[in-house]
């Protein structure tokens, strides 16, 4: 094919590409603070968070193709393993425990953060006391009723008062998409430790790393001190 256009004229294409590269680098450099402002500005707009990047909202993560819904009426959380009396708790049983309220951020290890979420639930140490932890127990393993997702804490971590079996989020029962009827909320750690669709709590003699830890994430996921991040702790 012959040259129908000589290479004359201005190289606009190249300028566009270089301009975009420049904008990209600038965006990466200032993006963290801009995103913060965007999130706060768009947070009150509600469902817009479903289509705009991290507009103040949660992002939905699930590791399986689908999760069967559990009705709050029949849902139970089973506590087993190295305990004196294994037991399973329905929502009504959980409601009889003293309720702990935490206003804390939900912080994902990938960087997004939902500020000041109100969590209500049973502090994990209260639940552990109710079943009596054996002297041989060193760690706690959590299983999701999605059939795949697992998590773990050391016994010492599990006895913190800011680790909840959460039943409410922002004034409402925890929805299915957010991991309801019961999910874990580990306030001082990144989001992946806060296992969704909590169905089982098992006391074990050692830490058995969970689903995401098998994919390379830190087992001890303290906000600001793990996975190479230095975020301000929640």
């Amino acid at each position: 094919m012959s040259e129908d256009e000589r290479p004359e004229g201005s190289p606009v294409g190249r300028r566009v590409v270089l301009g975009m590269l420049g904008l990209g680098v600038a965006g990466v450099a200032v993006g963290a603070s801009v995103q913060d402002r965007v999130s706060r500005t768009l947070a009150p707009v509600g469902p817009i968070g479903d289509v705009l990047p991290a507009a103040g909202g949660f992002r939905y993560y699930s590791v399986t193709s689908g999760v069967k819904r559990h009705s709050p009426a029949t849902h139970r959380v089973t506590v087993s393993g190295l305990v004196d009396k294994p037991q399973s708790f329905g929502m009504a049983d959980l409601a009889h425990f003293p309720q702990t309220v935490l206003d804390r951020d939900f912080q994902c290890v990938t960087g997004w953060r939902v500020p000041d979420v109100r969590w209500v639930g049973v502090a994990l140490p209260d639940l552990l006391d109710a079943v009596g932890v054996s002297a041989r127990a060193r760690a706690v393993r959590f299983t999701s009723f999605d059939g795949l997702y697992t998590e773990s804490l050391t016994l010492e971590q599990a006895r913190r008062r800011d680790v909840l079996v959460a039943t409410q989020m922002d004034g409402k029962p925890v929805t299915h998409d957010h991991g309801g009827p019961t999910r874990l909320y580990v306030a001082p750690m990144y989001g992946y430790k806060s296992l969704k669709w909590l169905g089982g709590i098992e006391l074990t003699d050692r830490v058995r790393p969970g689903y995401w830890e098998g994919l390379g994430y830190d087992v001890d996921a303290w906000v600001g001190r793990s996975n190479g991040r230095g975020d301000a702790p929640t």
Partner: protein, 259 residues
């Protein structure tokens, strides 16, 4: 040698060019689809399997520049990259004017070359977007050495550019799908010469000219002869209102707006 063209059809894209386009398009569509599944909560809730979707997205993302880089081996593709890069005055007119697609006597009134300015901008945007997505995607996929401000900044750029790429891709598909001959050109490599004259007048003249120069029976229209004469005059005059390198009849060489 390629078999002779049926009269009235012009070669627009070689097999290599079409392969590069289709491979890039396929990878881009998979990237956009998996991005939507990872990113839009209603779709994530529907499909889940985050780790698998992410793996597909990351592999397709890193593969995206490969067809383009391999394509640099093709002379025709390199020539098209040069055409896409350069803006001649007709391209600025094309962007400015409301009647950019107007046709007179079976011919576009603007001497558009092989690509119009919209196609040039689309190509440049996509090239830039692929590079920026590649860079930010690398930081997100291998976050190890990067501080958290860089990671959050990369997520920010990757997220918002996704929406822009989605919009531009939708626009590109919209323009293609409402022009059957343009689709045929990308599918078979050949276009109707009448279509070429209406949408890419300057290129049509040159393509027809080269086909005739190739020794095939000249089915030359009076128009085409006129063009050659006009092109010679235009180059000799080298006046600013002309469109360098674009051949066209006299009216197309006058400053747009006066025609």
């Amino acid at each position: 040698m390629r078999p002779p063209e049926p009269p009235g059809r012009l070669v627009r894209f070689t097999r290599a060019e079409r392969s590069i386009h289709h491979a890039t398009a396929l990878l881009m569509l998979v990237c956009l689809l998996t991005a939507a599944l990872l990113y839009l909560p209603p779709l994530s809730a529907l499909v889940g399997r985050r780790e698998m979707v992410k793996t597909v997205h990351v592999w397709c993302g890193f593969a995206l520049p490969v067809p383009i880089v391999l394509g640099l081996l093709s002379r025709a593709f390199r020539a098209d990259l040069r055409r896409l890069n350069r803006f001649v005055p007709a391209d600025w007119q094309w962007l400015r004017r409301g009647d950019r697609r107007a046709v007179r006597d079976g011919r576009g009134i603007l001497p558009v070359g092989k690509f119009n300015a919209g196609q040039k901008l689309n190509a440049a945007f996509m090239a830039g977007a692929i590079l920026v997505m590649l860079g930010t995607g690398e930081i997100m996929t291998f976050p190890g050495p990067w501080g958290d401000r860089w990671r959050t900044g990369s997520t920010f750029v990757h997220d918002w550019l996704f929406l822009a790429v989605l919009a531009v891709t939708a626009g590109h598909l919209w323009e293609a799908l409402r022009d059957r001959e343009a689709l045929t050109g990308m599918l078979t490599g050949r276009v109707d010469s009448g279509w070429a004259a209406r949408h890419h007048a300057s290129w049509a003249d040159a393509a027809r000219g080269s086909a005739n120069a190739g020794g095939r029976p000249a089915v030359r229209e009076a128009n085409a002869q006129l063009d050659e004469a006009g092109a010679g005059a235009g180059e000799a005059a080298a006046g600013p209102p002309g469109t360098p390198g674009e051949r066209g009849p006299e009216f197309a060489k006058r400053p747009p707006g006066t025609s």
